[in-house]
Each structure stands twice: as C-alpha cells, then as structure tokens.
C-alpha cells in the first residue's frame, strides 16, 4: 500500500506548485499592471516607478516567481490594499468563522444526502424516487442568494425564528478564542448560553450552503447504490437466503459508500467556495466576506491569497479522501 501513498504525496507537491504558479500568473502577470492599480490613474510617474521597483515588477518573470514562492513559504502573502494588514493575518482571523459554517453545512449535506440517496435507490422508479430526485435537483439549481433571500424574508423577517445575520448576538459575551469556532470554544468553556446562541445563528446559513452539496451527494449515492444493487453478488446472497434489508445495509451500503467518498471530498471543497456568497448574504464575518469586499477594491494580494489558501486546503482534503479510499477498499489495499 505504501507505494500508492508515496506517489500520491509526490502528486500533491506537484499540484500545489502548479496551483501556486497559476495564482502567481493571475496576480502578477494577467492583470497587466498592479502598480498602476495602487497608484491610480492620476499618480505621478516617480511614485509609479518606485512602486514598480518595490514590487519587483521590472525583474524577469522567473525571478518574480521565485520571490513569490519565497513569500508563500515565509507566510508573506503580500499586504492587503484595503486593510493594509498582511493578507495572511487577515485570513487567519477570519478563517475559523468560515470553517465552522462549512463544517455544519457539510454535516447537514452528508447526513441527508446519504439518507435520501439510499431511499431513492432502494425505491427506484417509485414516487419516492422522483420526489427525492426533484428535491436534490432543486438543490443544484437554487442560487444561494435566492434561497438565502427567501429564508431571511420568511424566517427572519416575518416569523423571526432565526437571526438574520452575524455569528452571535451582539449583547452575548464572546467565548475565549481557543479554536476560533464559537460552538466548540463555548462548549470547552462550558458557556451553554453562547453555545446555544451561536448554534442558533449557524442553522440557517449552514442549511442554505449545505443544500447545494446535498443534491450532488444524493445523485452520487443513488447511482452508486443502483450499481451495487444490480451486482451479481447481491442476487447470489439473496438466493442463499439473506434478507433484503440485511443485504441493503451490510452488503450494498458498505460497497456503495466507498466510491462516494471521493464526491464527499469534492463537495467539501465546493462548500469552501460556496461560503463566499453565503457569508455575504448572512453578513457572516468569514474569509468569504473578506474576499468579496476586497473584490470591490480589486485587492489582488487578498484575492489571490484567499484563492491559494482555499485551493491548497482543497487539495489536502482530496488527498485525505484518496487515502481513506485506499484504506477502505481491500482490492486496492491488498
């Protein structure tokens, strides 16, 4: 098994370099002239040249790339034009909020995704199948801002069940910053009030964000379950007397979920991406909101820093998923 893991790690390094090269291209090469951005159209020639020199834009391309990579390894992703803070510090402060939102959305998507997927597969071509599939397809087609809008108007505006924005009520005393995840920190500290409140704030945004991935997972689980249920060994086991539900749970579900893991990895990454819009709608102080605001200012260091961090995270998640796949499937492991 080790050789497989070894060359997966080599692949990881190769892909991370590729990703960093593309973010380099996007931030320094494509946008034409970042110096012009900073100075602005009316800036005089002298300051323009000074900034070009300072940013090292006059050096040949590969030198710029080496500087860029040196920067990444030392944690210097450049300073954000908008906040004048080092980009990495901004991202670190906002990262836990996004992570918490994504985790809850992920749990929501996985739990219901697998359940609906199994039901639509087992009850194939019946009314349950069509209902399940219709809900999952609406998930893919529903723009997050529309569902967010409707949920806020109804549940916040009219019914007032859920808070409309923010991670926790203003008057609530913030839990100490251990992991940065309010729900986890408040539990660690035993502050149940804060836990209940932050959980209350999490419900609506995580459902909105999670619903999109729910449908991809339903679709994958359904087709994978159908594949397995049509396999010969299910029929042989049935002919040997094993009951239908025993087969669905102990034989079919286990083998159907192995290929689904890869989809789970992908949808976790998609959630990181999707958080951008959700955070904007719910005024959620996460990395997504930070990036959206920096788009307005065409704040390249911030945008590219965010893209790099998200993508590297995404690649690592996919690697973990691949390794899980190897461990779980004996055919690959032996």
């Amino acid at each position: 098994m080790w050789p497989i893991i070894r060359n997966r790690l080599i692949m990881l390094v190769f892909v991370v370099f590729g990703v960093s090269f593309i973010t380099f291209l996007m931030s320094n090469v494509i946008p034409g002239d970042p110096a012009r951005m900073i100075v602005g159209p009316r800036g005089d020639q002298a300051t323009y040249q000074r900034i070009r020199e300072q940013l090292g834009l006059n050096d040949p391309l590969y030198v710029q790339y080496v500087d860029y990579m040196k920067g990444i390894f030392t944690g210097d992703l450049g300073t954000s034009i908008r906040t004048q803070q080092p980009v990495l510090d901004d991202l670190i402060t906002y990262f836990p909020a996004t992570l918490e939102l994504v985790i809850y959305a992920f749990l929501f998507a996985i739990f219901f995704g697998v359940m609906i997927g199994v039901i639509t597969a087992v009850k194939n071509n019946t009314k349950w199948d069509y209902i399940g599939r219709f809900f999952s397809i609406t998930g893919v087609s529903l723009p997050v801002f529309l569902s967010g809008l409707i949920f806020i108007i109804i549940f916040y505006g009219k019914l007032g069940w859920f808070p409309g924005s923010g991670r926790i009520d203003l008057f609530m005393e913030l839990p100490p910053r251990i992991t940065g995840l309010y729900t986890v920190d408040s539990l660690l500290v035993g502050n149940f009030e804060a836990f209940k409140n932050s959980l209350w704030h999490l419900i609506m945004p995580s459902i909105i964000l999670g619903y999109v991935q729910l449908s991809t997972i339903v679709r994958q689980v359904r087709s994978s379950m159908l594949d397995v249920l049509n396999q010969e060994y299910i029929r042989t086991a049935k002919a040997n007397g094993l009951s239908e539900w025993f087969l669905i749970i102990r034989y079919a579900l286990r083998n159907a979920l192995i290929p689904v893991i890869t989809v789970v990895g992908v949808s976790f990454g998609m959630l990181l991406g999707g958080a951008v819009v959700t955070e904007m709608i719910f005024n959620w102080p996460g990395m997504g909101k930070y990036v959206v605001e920096s788009i307005g200012f065409l704040d390249f260091p911030a945008i590219m820093g965010f893209t790099l961090l998200i993508s590297v995270g995404y690649v690592i998640i996919n690697l973990i998923v691949d390794l899980l796949y190897i461990v779980l499937d004996p055919r690959v492991r032996e």
Binding site: A237, A239, G241, L242, E334
Partner: protein
C-alpha cells in the same frame, strides 16, 4: 416427488411489448435425482430456475402454472416464507464466479453470514462451520482461504466457494445455472465431480441448467430439452442423446462438431433462435423445422417412446418399434 413445476408460463413486459418467455413448462425432480435442462440462449432455461426461487426481474409476470415444493405452491408464498426457503431448502449457483461474491468482504465472513441465517449458532461457531464447509468443497488450507478476499482466488476456487455458500444449509435441492460455462475444461471437470459427490453424500438433488449437451451426457440422470420457452423432449439422458426423437434435438446433436467427419459440412438448422413477441399457435420450431407439415401449425401432442421418454412433435409415432421409422432430417 421433491419439486414439481406444472404448466408454468412467464412473460415479460418491456418496451417492445409483452414477450412470452415460458409457455406451459412442466418439470419434476425426485429426491437425490440429477436433472438436466438443456437449451440454447432464449430458450428460457434460466427463467425457469429464477421462477422457482422467485428472483425473477420485477417486470416479469407469472401468467399460469404452479411450482410445488414438497406439495406446497411456492408461487403463493409471501416474501418472508420464500426467504426462509432460499438457501435452506433450495440453494442456487450462478454462472459467473468472478461476480458472484462480495468483493470487499472476506470469504469466511460471507459464509458465516449465510450459515447464521439458517442455523442458530454463535458468530464463533459459524466461523468454524464456515471452514468446515470450505473443506467439504475440497478447498486446501481452508483456514487461510477464509481470511482471503474473492479477488485473491482463481475462477475455479471462487466457484467452489459459491457452491459452499449454496450448500451451507445443506439444501434438499441445488439449482445450478450453467455453473461451469465460464470455467476451463479441466476446472469444469473438477467442479462437476465435486457436485456429483456432494449430491450423493448429502442426498441433494440437482437441477442442472446448461447449453452444453456433452456435459449433460455423463452427469445427469434425466434431461429436458427446451426451445423457445417450451419443453420439446424429455427422458433418460442416454435415450435423449443417443436416440433423439424431436427434430430439434436431433438437429442439435447433428450440429455438434464432436466426432464428426472434418471433410463433410455439419448438418445445420437454418435461421437462429429468437424471441417471438406473438407466440406461434402451433409448434415453436415450425419456422426452422426440416420435417414440418401443415398439421404442425396446431399444438403438437406429447408422443411417448417408452416409459419416460417423450417428444412433442407430430412426426413422432407413438411407441413405434424401431427408431428407423423416423424420416431422415
């Protein structure tokens, strides 16, 4: 009488309309007997087997007939009762060993699952019994094999495990749907020897389904020949193979290359077996039969040639003396 299939008719609902797959098929099996069912593709032989343990495809419908197992009709039993019979009373072995076992579960565990379904034993006992059944099917170092996964075994070994699974109870009847077709000749020979010894040792009767007349030759006591969903001939294996009566059986044996003179072309039945959406009124073989006459357009009668050898064909004279009375095909 262990199993009696009476006038079983099955048809399929598909995009192309209703296709009749079985038409009034009757088969009976006594205790300890090995029965062969021979037919080409589309003859409905596999459908008969699946109808017995009610594993037919969901858009298949049983139009008429009964399947009496120890005089109880299996068709009227509900899913729960049928489940109790599958594996316990009637075991089944399928054709493709490559896909018949759960690829991600150890052999021993799969066996134990089936054993614990039929006998009230603890997990540990089930595991020991599993190793026991592996030994029954003559698998060397059964302990090691029970820890292995299916993809680590050869085709022949896997088919032995499939037989062990089917014989776990052990059942009174083992249905084998082309169990050796996917195997090499030498391995096929071993598996057939194994099945024969298991049948004698445990008193299990076998319903052996194949397209290979030669295999049936020395393996089965009696044989049924099927064509297009109907049984056209049946009798002791020696009679049917060496003194075939029905034109289809005779033509089938003639077209086998074994022992034929290489310089002469093989006797051939024109056309090919294909599914009839609308069943022909008379004999099913009418389209391809060399001896057909106008009376063949109505349903051929059963003509007996000796105590248990019959053929459903107008051209066959009832109990006529010597076989020479037959016309050359």
């Amino acid at each position: 009488m262990l199993l009696e299939i009476k006038e079983l008719s099955v048809s399929f609902e598909s995009i192309y309309g209703k296709s009749h797959v079985l038409d009034h098929v009757s088969i009976n099996i006594k205790k300890g007997e090995i029965i062969g069912v021979v037919g080409e593709s589309g003859s409905g032989k596999s459908v008969t087997a699946l109808a017995i343990i009610r594993l037919l495809h969901k858009n298949a419908s049983i139009d008429s007939g009964e399947i009496l197992y120890e005089n109880e009709n299996l068709l009227t039993k509900d899913e729960k009762e049928i489940q109790a019979i599958r594996g316990k009373k009637i075991g089944m072995v399928f054709q493709e060993p490559m896909t018949a076992l759960n690829p991600t579960m150890k052999i021993g565990k799969q066996l134990a699952n089936v054993i614990r379904k039929h006998r009230e034993v603890s997990k540990k006992e089930a595991h020991e019994l599993a190793i026991e059944t592996l030994k029954d099917v003559k698998i060397k170092d059964a302990e090691k094999v029970s820890e292995k996964y299916p993809f680590q075994l050869s085709g022949g070994m896997r088919q032995r495990v499939v037989i062990a699974l089917a014989m776990a109870a052990p059942p009174d009847l083992l249905i084998a749907d082309e169990p050796t077709t996917a195997l090499d000749v030498t391995v096929q020979n071993e598996i057939l020897k194994l099945m024969k010894s298991l049948s004698e040792k445990k008193g299990t009767s076998i319903l052996f389904i194949t397209h290979d007349l030669a295999v049936v030759g020395n393996f089965c006591d009696r044989v049924y020949v099927m064509y297009q969903g109907k049984i056209v001939e049946s009798g002791k294996t020696a009679d049917v193979l060496h003194k075939p009566e029905h034109p289809y059986t005779r033509a089938l044996i003639e077209s086998l290359p074994e022992g034929k003179n290489p310089d002469e072309p093989l006797k051939v039945i024109d056309g090919e077996p294909f599914v009839l959406n609308s069943r022909p009124t008379g004999c099913v073989f009418i389209a391809r039969c060399p001896l057909k006459t106008e009376q063949c357009s109505n349903v051929p009668p059963v003509r007996w040639r000796g105590t248990d050898h019959w053929a459903a064909c107008w051209e066959v004279e009832e109990n006529a003396g010597n076989p020479l009375a037959r016309k050359e095909i």
